[in-house]
């Protein structure tokens, strides 16, 4: 039997020899997930801000809904969007199924509730005086919002990292909506699923290592950034 260590050595070789097929997959993964995060973040943070700073009817219900949406499995999101985007579905005319755009859409749906919930928790714990101080010093509401986001930046970066972590490693909706097409919609998680089904564990482990390194790197970076924030408070 091929040992884990042998597969791991081969994985490291593949990674550092610049295996182009492997790096294409890694590139697709990052480009799709980063775009999904960029599209989702502004609206998510604005939503979180409205939920944290203003009271309006249905606010509590919305907070509960976003917290519940956190635990929706990726496959359910994938299936729902699949039905919507399929030729026979209501959005079939967009012809988005099995494209990167469909994957991005799925990942937006997955990270949006997480971003809202975490940004909401962060913004809720910010000092209300910051908002009022900005306004009384003549800032417009938009400018005051930006000031609040700056004050809460460490928590918000944490939310973004968590959101990115959720979508970069997500296989269910990417597989369903992207279709795992080589050089187009095959990202790290779907490639791992495929390599495993083919029995080529080395490629799977190599890709798994990328995810692991990335998680490690992001967490260390986040720790650094938030550590900085803690000192000056």
């Amino acid at each position: 039997m091929e040992t884990l260590s042998a597969a791991s050595y081969q994985a490291l070789y593949l990674l550092f020899s610049g295996d182009s097929a492997l790096w294409t997959i890694i590139g697709i993964s990052f480009s799709v997930s980063v775009r999904a995060l960029i599209y989702a973040a502004p609206l998510a943070i604005l939503t979180a801000f409205l939920l944290a700073y203003f009271s309006f009817p249905g606010r509590r219900l919305l907070v509960s809904i976003f917290n519940t949406a956190l635990s929706i499995p990726a496959v359910v999101v994938g299936l729902t969007l699949y039905i919507m985007l399929s030729k026979a579905g209501p959005l079939g005319e967009w012809r988005l199924l099995f494209t990167q755009d469909a994957m991005i859409l799925g990942q937006i749906c997955l990270c949006f509730p997480l971003l809202v919930a975490m940004a909401h928790a962060t913004l809720q714990s910010t000092d209300r005086r910051a908002w009022e101080t900005a306004l009384t010093l003549g800032a417009s509401p938009v400018r005051a919002l930006l000031t609040i986001l700056h004050e809460a930046r460490f928590g918000l970066i944490g939310a973004l990292v968590a959101g990115f972590g959720r979508i970069i490693a997500e296989v269910g909706s990417s597989m369903m909506l992207g279709g795992n097409i080589l050089n187009y919609t095959r990202n790290i998680p779907t490639a791992i699923a495929l390599e495993t089904s083919k029995g080529s564990f080395a490629e799977g482990i190599a890709l798994g290592m990328v995810l692991l390194f990335m998680a490690l790197f992001l967490n260390i970076a986040l720790g650094q950034v938030q550590g900085k924030g803690a000192v000056s408070q």
Partner: protein, 244 residues
Amino acid sequence: MSADTLRPWLKMQDLTFLRGDRTILKSVSLDIQPGELTLLTGQNGSGKTTLLRILAGLQKPQQVQFEFAGEQQKWRQSYRFLRDQICYLHQQPYLFDGSVSENIAYGLKRQRMGRQAIKAKVAEALEQISLEHLAQRNSRELSGGEKQRVAIARAWALAPRLMLLDEPVSNLDKRSRHICYDLINQLQQQKIGVIYTSHEPQAGHLKINRHLHLYEGEMTTKPLTNEKAAVVELVKGNPNQSRG
């Protein structure tokens, strides 16, 4: 103070504020003269802070009528004006994450001032509060008294018509209190109006022009005990006429 100070630049009438079923402020009216130093006293929970926040355009009351430059305005048209003209300082002022200079420059940047002009104004403000040596210090590293002074300088730099100080000295030690009182007196000399609140009638060394008192949501004018007060009664009309 000349005759024009007798015409209020801001009239607030018939202010009512409810929190839930509780009436916090009951049909309060107030005239504000330019450059006037007002002491506002009242027990904890008497509505002092609420009144200041409404005046600063930060809290919407259930009912109010403002009049400035001779025009009657509803809340919707007023709050923007109030925010522009009036500066509110929290009991423990909030300083933004960043250096002392950045904090003082915050409001100036919103006024689209040039970079050189901002720099000069920040230097001037730091001089006012004698904290030039802390210009680059992060605001989070300041003491309570220093924070209070920076907050006053930050507001002063904007040259507001009126500054609202919410219990500015209550958390300060004796030395810081005196520095703070000196700063308030300086504001008055520069014709910046000040309303400051205190839950005790001790005014320290302030040359107050008027003493207002809030009790159970209604406002009364108290006689001045301070001998140094320049003008005994500036208030036109009767601020404690309650209609509710």
